[in-house]
């Protein structure tokens, strides 16, 4: 009954590229997308670096070919990434198979709403932005342009959101509710987010240093990434081609604090163990771990501790790619899922940029330059506020 789940399409837009091929070039050339802020209007423009998509809202609107003034940055990038994934997969939603769209976001339409928030109390001119504020708006737009969609939903669980969207897609296919799904997440930069993360004092004013002893915090990023996932039966029916298989996943709660992880990384450890158990793989059979690795003092120590507890002295090669993209919040898990598949397809382990000194308590050294070697299995971690911990395991086909 429980059929295999395959990834058949990838779509991604972030600071390192406007599509998957561009992203691969940046990753393989160790070219970070983090830099000065150009498009977002914020009082922190000159104080902080960010992983900003290198296109203005106007340029994004042109690419999407929709100049509806109600649309916001979130909707543009969600549609671009979803479109790329669907085209890449070659699925035709009018072929009678049941398709779902499961997206995720935390920012939603905040980027536009915050621009007009004060003004809306006085005049109605931009009242339309309220229509696109909801988390579900960009998901609906993806479903609208795809057509013939049987199920639409939006998850919002902070930084693990897209992982949970991917998991839900897998579950619905395995339970016979869908044949395939477009799954992922999106979050654009906004003043709201910048202000908020700054007030939690977890931003680094310089380029972030994941897993480094002297790390000071994260760099915010923005992006959208989607996968097309299909059950093996559906894939056979339409003669599609698999890029990778999703062999394990798990979700747990750290039950420690609203925004900090427990020192021993209990929730993280549980999520990794459960995902491994589901995959049937032993820890030593994991070739590469794409860490959540935000660069905050708290996360990297907690995640490192949890990882060591699971893998012991058989720690696989690992890296955090957030020094490339920044922390893209809800989108991060799907962006890193795309990166994990690229890793397996191209036999490359992408580096943990900006690393110098291992964390004293852990003595864990990530890969700091591109590694060319076969990668058959990848573990990808995403841990969100609210203690929401998710781990995904991918396997090469």
């Amino acid at each position: 009954m429980s059929q295999k789940i395959y990834i058949t399409g990838l779509g991604m837009i972030s600071a390192i590229g406007n599509n998957v091929p561009e992203s691969l070039v940046s990753l393989s050339q160790s070219k970070t997308g983090i830099g000065k802020i150009h498009h977002l209007t914020t009082r922190y423009k000159d104080d902080f670096l960010a992983g900003e998509i290198k296109l203005s809202n106007k340029e994004l609107a042109d690419l999407v070919n929709d100049h509806n003034p109600e649309l916001n940055r979130n909707s543009y990038i969600a549609m671009l990434a979803a479109k790329e994934a669907v085209q890449h997969s070659g699925i035709d939603t009018s072929d009678g198979l049941r398709t779902g769209v499961i997206s995720s976001t935390t920012v939603a339409g905040m980027g536009k709403t915050e621009m007009y928030y004060k003004e809306l109390f006085e005049k109605d001119e931009h009242l339309g932005v309220l229509d696109t504020h909801d988390c579900g708006d960009s998901t609906e737009r993806i479903a609208d342009f795809l057509g013939n969609v049987d199920y639409v939903t939006t998850i919002s669980t902070a930084c693990s959101s897209a992982a949970n969207a991917i998991m839900l897609g897998c579950r619905m296919i395995k339970n016979g509710l869908l044949d395939r799904a477009v799954v992922g997440g999106v979050d654009a930069l906004s003043k709201f987010t910048f202000n908020g993360f700054n007030t939690l004092m977890i931003l680094d004013k310089e380029w972030c240093k994941p897993f480094d002893e002297n790390r000071k915090g994260l760099n915010l990023g923005e992006g959208a990434a989607f996968l097309v996932i299909e059950g093996e039966e559906a894939l056979k029916k339409r003669n599609g081609k698999a890029l990778a298989e999703i062999v394990g996943y798990a979700n747990t709660n750290d039950a420690y604090h609203q925004t900090a992880s427990s020192p021993e990384g209990y929730g993280a450890k549980l999520a990794i163990e459960k995902a491994l158990a589901m995959s049937g793989l032993k820890p030593e059979e994991i070739d590469y771990i794409n860490m959540h690795g935000t660069g905050t003092p708290n996360n990297d120590l907690s995640e490192g501790t949890a990882t060591k507890a699971v893998f012991g002295d058989k720690l696989p090669k690992f890296s955090s790619t957030k020094a490339f993209t920044g922390h893209t919040l809800a989108a991060s898990a799907s962006i890193e899922a795309v990166i994990s598949v690229l890793s397996m397809q191209n036999s490359m382990i992408f580096p943990n940029l900006n690393f110098t000194t291992p964390i004293a308590e852990l003595n864990m050294v990530p890969e700091t330059t591109l590694v060319n070697m076969p990668v058959n299995t990848v573990l990808s971690n995403s841990f969100g506020f609210g203690g929401n911990c998710s781990s995904l395991i991918f396997k090469k086909v």
Partner: protein
């Protein structure tokens, strides 16, 4: 077989548990005052409660009422208890509150304690922290209470090893609020009780719609 072993519904400043009104707050009280009254009525000591936003306070109060008098937390392993929640407004109420702390350049004091609550799933975090549950958790943003969504998802996690779940709808948007939480357990862990309804879309809808308040 999974059963709904307890449920609580909070609306119009009233708390009903398993179909009976257990607490009525001051009818004219706004949500913040009502939540304080309900917290006091529960007679629990949990100082962290006061730091939470309205969404989390409502979630904690409703969950606490649903758990009252049950053995839910002792008869189910804590790492096998899932939390599945949903609402329509996400964290909008707190988003507005946070926006207020940053919108005025001359009185600009962003509040970290408010920002922490600008995500809908923090209510799950607070429930997990209070009751120390480390199982699966998911938060869905949906247009309206959707029994099908909650039941389908909860059933799926049960199939993958979860033994009990705290599920529901917790919504706060301006003056409008509502909370409906039900506890679901596998039959093996429950005290045999023929009054327990099976977990499915029909029974969840039926329990949610039970009109116990006429005004």
């Amino acid at each position: 077989m999974r059963y709904i072993t307890s449920y609580a519904h909070i609306k119009n400043n009233r708390v009903s548990v398993n179909g009976e009104i257990l607490f009525t707050g001051t009818p004219s009280a706004g949500l913040p005052e009502f939540l304080t009254e309900a917290y006091k009525a529960l007679a629990i000591s949990y100082p962290k409660f006061h730091k939470m936003d309205s969404l989390c306070k409502l979630g904690i109060v409703c969950t606490e009422f649903a758990l009252k008098g049950t053995n839910f937390l002792t008869q189910n392993p804590l790492d096998k208890i899932a939390i599945v929640m949903s609402n329509a407004a996400s964290s909008l109420e707190t988003d507005r509150h946070y926006q207020d702390t940053i919108k005025d350049k001359s009185n600009y004091f962003p509040s970290p304690a408010v920002f922490v609550y600008t995500l809908p799933n923090i209510v799950i975090g607070e429930i997990a922290i209070k009751y120390k549950t480390t199982g699966e958790n998911a938060f869905f943003v949906a247009e309206k209470p959707d029994a099908g969504l909650l039941v389908n998802y909860t059933e799926t996690v049960f199939q993958e090893g979860t033994q009990a779940a705290i599920c529901g709808w917790i919504e706060v948007d301006g003056n409008s609020y509502e909370a409906f939480i039900f506890l679901a357990e596998i039959s093996g862990n429950t005290n045999k009780n023929s009054n327990f309804k099976p977990l499915n879309q029909l029974t969840v809808t039926e329990l949610y719609n039970k009109t116990i308040w006429t005004h």
